[in-house]
């Protein structure tokens, strides 16, 4: 037999069409035949047949070879059991056997032992013990083998508790190796949680502790009637198949399903690519499904086995504990005899109780409950009070492991069928290291940690915000559902949000809850995205977020949901760096919302309406792109406060100005001697002072002015001035003003002199130094972007010029201004920044500003 070519034929054949168990059996059979041939060739068979030499020798297949579960790259484990001295010729023949096997590229492990030596090894090494449990005789004395095996089993039977204990220790060590993680991008099919090793535990225990020859026999025991043997066999077969395919194609013996293999295997197994989910994703979904199933079935199996082998006494019950349950070692269990078939609600009651008292759910809940839920899902959901109890669990989760269990046995899927699509759905991306369903549960866990103050040391703001929430329970639900749209491919936020209203209605939640949670799901990436991708130093960025969120309570919920999402995403995402940006945007948006105007409910409508009108009017004259460009440059403040017809003038001026440093349009106000100057001008230091100065020296009293600087260096201004007294010479007068503005801009007009002359020449002036009776307020808190200077001064000609000059002389840049004057007073609000574009930070500077402008009361 040419073993190598037969093996290659199997490996390169259409493995995908065979079942996992079939592949392993076929391969094991192949090895059996090969070994058999070699045994004949090396004359071992004829020697061992001879009772003299072959009396007390057994040639055994061990481990997975013995269990007929070999995969294409598995090691072959052999044991040669003998009594007395092993004849030299047999030893030599065995060596010859090994050489042949090695030549055939097989990895062989072997031991040559007496039964006593074997017993000793088994006591020392758990791996040897379990390997022997799987032993199968290839050649030699059957009686010898049987006696040995019986002795092993009876030794173990004396200390079943010890055997079980060893298995649990092994399991714990294995789990520790995998770091206690819930999920792995590249799961280890043999040793990973839910891998084939788990299945072996169950097999060994059923053999040793319950005397079952075949694993399926264990179902005869009362405790295991609900064991889903068929499903388990199917999952095991699936893993065996994948493992075989993996072995067939990788050049090294690899049990980890590396990402590089996932694509190839998904193609071999003919998983289709879909519009919203790729073939490898589909494949991995199945892998996780099977591994999770094995994992949880094993958990329950081991718990039940322990109960049977070394039963524990129940723990003392707290007062008012439901009568159907007991507590054993911190686990909630059914009081003997009560089963679910009578009362489905018991399942929910158990979860609720466990959640309330901080217990886990023990024996009896994983299998029976899962079976019940699978079979009677619709009935359970419709039972009166069921939805409420389910919501109780979700809206106030205290133990993350309980939620995980609820997910695993299908409870969450029963009440939220939309969740099914994201079950076991892996996300491939730089940050995500968990499947979507587990990520959602983890987000809920983070919220719980916020609530219980676990982050108080690292980020105290979180709990402060939490405590202001009116409906923190809705946030848990939002966390559960926030990524539901991921099953549908791109744009998961909007897609998920669309699913929410009907989902919540089905669960019996009110309209306000539905609106809130829909909003949260739709916008759950808003804060993270804006804080990382847009300029937080730009007021407009913050205002636009404020306009989307509109409500401080929604902002608080959105902020905490973003934190939960981010912390639940993965180690890279948990750095404090992104947290800084998130905190900044939260605080800034909150300030805008609490300040009112810029983010009032109808702000967006008003602004949108104005934009439409401007576009309509100007669309014939200018390109749409140019108009949009200006909409991007102006602040929200401008769009809110300036009337549409003025906006139209400004845009037109800006787009037709060309090289001129400024341009304006004059409009007379009907019925009064007032002229409006709608101006577009290139911003420069001291601009406002210059403009106002020129008006003043031309006897044009400034009644009001509004200043709006754009991002691109232009300024859109509006002044209302008293019209020149002599209406006949008006045009000449305005010409002169125009010329003087030009000169002033070029610093060729000596404004100071002209002002001084004018002051001397005026008959009717109350000559009071500016300092008296001027109220100044410098507010550095109200805005995150500007220092706001408010001045109320007694009116006199030139007062506005003085104020503007002082502000300019202190090195400040006026970005927005709103000024009104009447007969008595001048009132101005100036939004300023320093030369670097920041708010004024130095306290002395703020003090000096106040002082220069007037003494603060």
């Amino acid at each position: 037999m040419n073993f190598l070519s037969e093996r290659d034929a199997l490996a390169c054949g259409n493995l995908a069409k065979l079942s996992g168990a079939a592949i392993s059996r076929r391969y094991t059979g192949m090895v059996d035949r090969f070994v058999g041939e070699l045994l004949v060739l090396l004359r071992l068979r004829e020697w061992l047949k001879n009772t003299n030499t072959g009396g007390r020798i057994a040639f055994l297949a061990m481990g997975s070879y013995g269990a007929r579960e070999l995969c294409l790259a598995s090691d072959i484990d052999l044991m040669i059991l003998h009594e007395g001295v092993l004849p030299t010729k047999i030893e030599r023949a065995l060596l010859g056997l090994l050489y042949h096997l090695w030549d055939a590229k097989l990895e062989v492990g072997y031991t040559i032992v007496t039964p006593e030596e074997a017993q000793r090894l088994m006591a020392e090494d758990f791996g040897t013990l379990t390997s022997i449990l799987n032993s199968r005789m290839l050649l030699g004395s059957r009686a010898f083998h049987m006696t040995f095996k019986e002795r092993v089993l009876s030794t173990l039977a004396n200390d079943l508790g010890g055997m079980l204990g060893k298995i649990l220790v092994e399991k714990a060590k294995r789990e520790e190796r995998f770091g206690g993680e819930e999920y792995f991008i590249e799961p280890d099919l043999k040793e990973g949680p839910g891998g084939l090793r788990d299945f072996h535990y169950m097999r060994w225990i059923s053999k040793v502790c319950f005397g079952c020859q075949r694993f399926s026999d264990v179902k005869r025991l009362n405790a295991f009637t609900h064991l889903e043997i068929n499903k388990l066999a199917y999952s095991r077969g699936f893993l065996l198949k994948v493992r075989n395919l993996l072995h067939a194609s990788s050049s090294t013996k690899e049990d980890r399903l590396l990402v590089s293999h996932q694509e190839r295997l998904s193609k071999e197994l003919e998983y289709p690519d879909g519009p919203s989910i790729s073939a490898p994703s589909r494949f991995m979904k199945d892998v996780y499904l099977h591994m999770n199933r094995i994992r949880y079935i094993t958990e329950e199996f081991l718990t039940k086995a322990k109960d049977l082998v070394s039963p524990s006494l129940p723990d003392p019950l707290p007062p008012e504990f439901p009568k159907e349950f007991d507590i054993v070692k911190g686990n909630l269990v059914m009081k003997g005899g009560i089963s679910f078939s009578d009362d489905l609600m018991l399942i929910l009651k158990a979860f609720k109780t466990a959640n309330k008292y901080g217990l886990f759910l023990g024996s009896g809940f994983i299998w029976e409950a899962r079976k019940k839920i699978t079979k009677d899902r619709c009935r359970l959901v419709m039972l009166p009070g069921a939805k409420e109890m389910f919501l109780d669990l979700i809206l106030d989760p205290r133990n993350p492991r309980i939620l995980r269990l609820a997910l695993e046995i299908g409870l969450i899927n029963a009440f939220v069928p939309e969740f099914r699509k994201i079950r076991n759905l892996a996300q491939f991306g730089y940050y995500h290291v968990e499947t979507v369903d587990l990520h959602s549960l983890r987000a809920m866990q983070v919220l719980h940690r916020i609530r219980t103050g676990k982050y108080d040391g690292e980020w105290p703001l979180l709990r402060r915000v939490w405590e202001e929430l009116r409906h923190p329970e809705w946030l848990f639900l939002a966390a559960l559902l926030h990524d539901i749209g991921k099953a549908y491919g791109k744009d998961h936020c909007a897609r998920g949000a669309r699913k929410i209203p009907s989902l919540l209605e089905r669960l019996g939640l009110g309209e306000e809850a539905a609106r809130t949670i829909t909003f949260l799901v739709r916008h759950h990436i808003l804060l993270a995205r804006v804080s990382q991708r847009r300029d937080l130093g730009d007021e407009k960025t913050v205002v636009s977020v404020a306009q989307t969120v509109r409500d401080p309570e929604l902002l608080r919920m959105l902020f905490l949901l973003t934190v939960a999402d981010s912390k639940a995403t993965g180690p890279m995402a948990r750095s404090g760096w992104k947290a800084l940006l998130l905190e900044e945007i939260f605080l800034k948006v909150n300030k805008i919302l609490e300040g009112g105007k810029l983010a009032a409910p109808d702000t967006r409508k008003v602004v949108a309406q104005k934009r439409r009108e401007v576009r309509e009017t100007l669309k014939g004259e200018f390109k749409a792109n140019d108009l949009e460009g200006f909409f991007g440059q102006v602040s929200t403040r401008y769009l809110l406060e300036v009337p549409v017809h003025d906006i139209i003038h400004h845009f037109r001026l800006a787009l037709t100005m060309g090289d001129k440093p400024y341009d304006w349009v004059l409009k007379k106000v009907p019925g009064v001697p007032v002229t409006r100057i709608i101006e577009c001008i290139y911003d420069r230091p001291g601009l406002f002072a210059k403009m106002v100065g020129v008006f003043t020296v031309n006897n044009l009293r400034v009644l009001s002015s509004s200043l709006f600087t754009l991002k691109n260096g232009l300024a859109f201004n509006i002044y209302e001035v008293t019209s020149p007294v002599d209406s006949l010479m008006e045009e000449d007068r305005w010409d002169r003003v125009r010329k003087e503005v030009m000169l002033a801009l070029e610093d060729r007009l000596s404004l100071e002199e002209l002002m001084a002359q004018r002051r001397k020449g005026l008959l009717r002036t109350r000559v009071l130094p500016l300092r008296h009776e001027t109220k100044v307020k410098v507010d550095n808190q109200a805005s995150d972007f500007f220092t706001i200077v408010e001045v109320i001064a007694l009116y006199r000609p030139g007062v506005l010029y003085e104020v503007a000059k002082i502000i300019h002389s202190m090195g400040l840049d006026i970005r927005f201004a709103k000024v009104n004057t009447d007969d008595e007073k001048m009132m101005g609000s100036f939004y300023v920044r320093d030369k670097e574009g920041q708010k004024i930070c130095e306290r002395e500077r703020l003090a000096r500003l106040e002082q220069e402008l007037g003494t603060a009361p």
Binding site: W577, K578, E583, K591, E836, Q838
Partner: protein
């Protein structure tokens, strides 16, 4: 060979990265850092509690390029990281003595 190191505002990363890659630079490193210079941190008051940020989040970008490309890289960064507001960042150019590709052992120009 030169190392060009730039500290920029976080939201400018995509633009700067695209601009630099367009010049034919084949690799770069990005680090999330915190820093301050003349742009000071800020202080917020929320519900009576102060939240002070001394260090501002920034991004550090590092590329190694042939000396003749350094000037263009610096220009690309300058243009794309600019906002005109304080805190736009800084660029540093350092000389690089040697570069080695670990996998193949290639050196200097062949390594970058």
């Amino acid at each position: 060979m030169k190392k060009v190191e730039a500290i920029i505002k976080p939201f400018k990363l995509e633009d700067v990265k695209d601009a630099v890659l367009k010049l034919g630079v084949s690799g770069m490193s990005v680090t999330e850092i915190k820093g301050f210079g003349r742009q000071k941190g800020h202080k917020e008051i929320y519900r009576g509690a102060e939240y002070v940020v001394d260090f501002l989040p920034k991004v550090k970008l590092e590329v190694i390029v042939p000396a003749e490309l350094a000037g263009r890289v610096v220009e690309a960064i300058k243009e794309n990281a600019y906002t005109g507001q304080i805190g736009d960042g800084k660029i540093f150019i350092l000389p690089v003595e040697k570069a080695i590709r670990i996998r193949t052992g290639e050196e200097d120009r062949d390594a970058i």
